[in-house]
Symmetry: C2
Subunit: 304 residues, 2 copies
């Protein structure tokens, strides 16, 4: 939102604050060009009423739909969470796009739509998508519903397939968890799985840059892009060691067993971003640089 | 259901009868091995209560989930119809699979998950899936949810990607529409679109045969198969002429404009079924033979 405000747009943010924090919008709100409305986007009537009030007769230009349940294990334990927070929010935002004749829809999807392709490098046309978490399933469902909706309303949509993203402020993820564990016990860092899981990580600043780029440059009806770094990623062991070095250099890292930390976790992951490179965007940070910077920033933010 | 009963299984059928007709189950029910329960599968509490009552302590062996909204234009006009009847029925059936520890899940998906790939021959790994109807979107959503659910419950699932299916009894579709139009006006047959749309059609008897085959032979966790004839299909013109020849040989066929009959219609469609052939199944009827037989059977069934 802050980035959209910086580009000169007026922005209204709708969120139920189940995982968000309105303090993250303070800088944007201070500009006078960003408003915040607390509403549950999964409640269609409330959501539409909130949009109607916010627009007050003006024409909306674009919906940026970033809301979702971000706690994948919670969604595995109770599929209703992802149904409501990850899918019905999309479904309702598309109904709002139709009702308020909003021409653009930009959507935060996820590499979780793909499922486990092992060592295969995953491109946008890799299939079949067989997500292994309810989160990934409801992101895939959202993508499908966007494509269908664009047949009868809206002018164009972006679908951003996020990789693992790191940066501050963090609410979850390996870096956040490791830092919090070491705050409690400075001598031991227990790690889920054997540490060999390897994934690509993108810094949140690069992610925002990529989304703004695609939203502007992608002029197809459906603009579907993997977003990620160009490298093959880093291991959980690398992340654990980064966190240890910054937070508690003398801590012992204790690994678990197996190459999956939890149901819905994918041990290896290779992501093709050639399509986005061809459109003209490149990340500024590799996975290791993104993780190093995120560890510093998150550790500073959660300093005791 | 009748086919499952013929194979010696005890079957309980759950349906809200919004588009079905319990008379289609008469032969199966007469065997004493098939029961029918009227319930809305999109109503989780009612659906689970109905399953619990039907099982009465016994262990369920498999869920065959065939319920969906089959009126694609209705779903385009009101996306809530496909959300409820096509997706939430799947979502709830998967929750039932978990709750009642049912090991198998067999699902009627659709070629509509793919969207419009033009002249490309579509295989199971063709992507990205970009459905152009809410029906297709909610079938894709169902597939994703099945894959995710199988991570934590169930032993294996089949996903049958149906082609266009023809045969009696029919409740919708080009053949059914054309016959009914000619019943009303024996001299003219108006056709949506210019008649050049070409699609593959499978006879319903072949479809049932393929599903039973995959359910038995597919021993992966997720068994995803395109089901269809081997040919490139027949045109709407061919179907219109078949119907005219059987129902009203002197009628004039009047074509519309454009190569799409309605939103969500795909003008051309080529379907690869090599994967299913490799598993060991082949259709007995080509598209033209399937259409000819279906025209005869449906015309006989709806005879005035």
């Amino acid at each position: 939102m802050t980035a959209l405000v910086s580009q000169g747009h007026d922005v209204v943010t709708f969120d139920n604050l189940s995982r968000g924090d309105v303090r993250n919008l303070e800088a944007a709100i201070a500009t006078g060009r960003c408003r915040f409305v607390e509403v549950d986007c999964a409640d269609l009537d409330a959501f539409k009423a909130a949009i109607r009030a916010a627009l007050s007769g003006q024409r909306g230009r674009a919906i940026w739909h970033l809301a979702a349940n971000s706690d994948i294990p919670a969604g595995v334990a109770d599929p209703q969470i992802d149904l409501r927070d990850t899918f019905l929010t999309t479904f309702n935002a598309l109904l709002a796009m139709r009702e308020f004749a909003i021409p653009e829809f930009h959507f935060a999807s996820s590499s979780a739509v793909y499922g486990d392709f092992g060592d295969l490098e995953i491109a946008e046309n890799t299939g079949p998508c067989q997500p292994i978490s309810n989160y990934g399933a409801m992101k895939l469902a959202s993508e499908g519903q966007i494509c269908a909706a664009l047949e009868s309303c809206g002018r164009r949509a972006s679908i951003f397939r996020f990789p693992n993203v790191v940066g501050a402020p963090a609410t979850h993820g390996a870096i956040f968890d490791f830092i919090n564990k070491l705050r409690v016990d400075k001598s031991h860092l227990p790690v889920l799985g054997d540490g060999t899981q390897q994934k690509a990580y993108l810094h949140v600043d690069d992610l925002i840059s990529a989304m703004l780029f695609i939203a502007k440059a992608g002029q197809s009806k459906i603009n579907l892009y993997n977003i990620g770094p160009r490298d093959a990623g880093v291991t959980v062991r690398f992340i654990a060691e980064c966190v240890r070095d910054v937070v508690a250099p003398n801590a012992e890292i204790i690994y678990g067993r197996g190459d999956r930390g939890w149901v819905g976790d994918i041990p290896r992951f290779r992501y093709a971003i050639d399509r986005l490179a061809k459109l003209g965007w490149e990340p500024t940070l590799s996975s290791d640089a993104a993780v190093r910077r995120a560890v510093r920033d998150i550790a500073a933010a959660v300093a005791p």
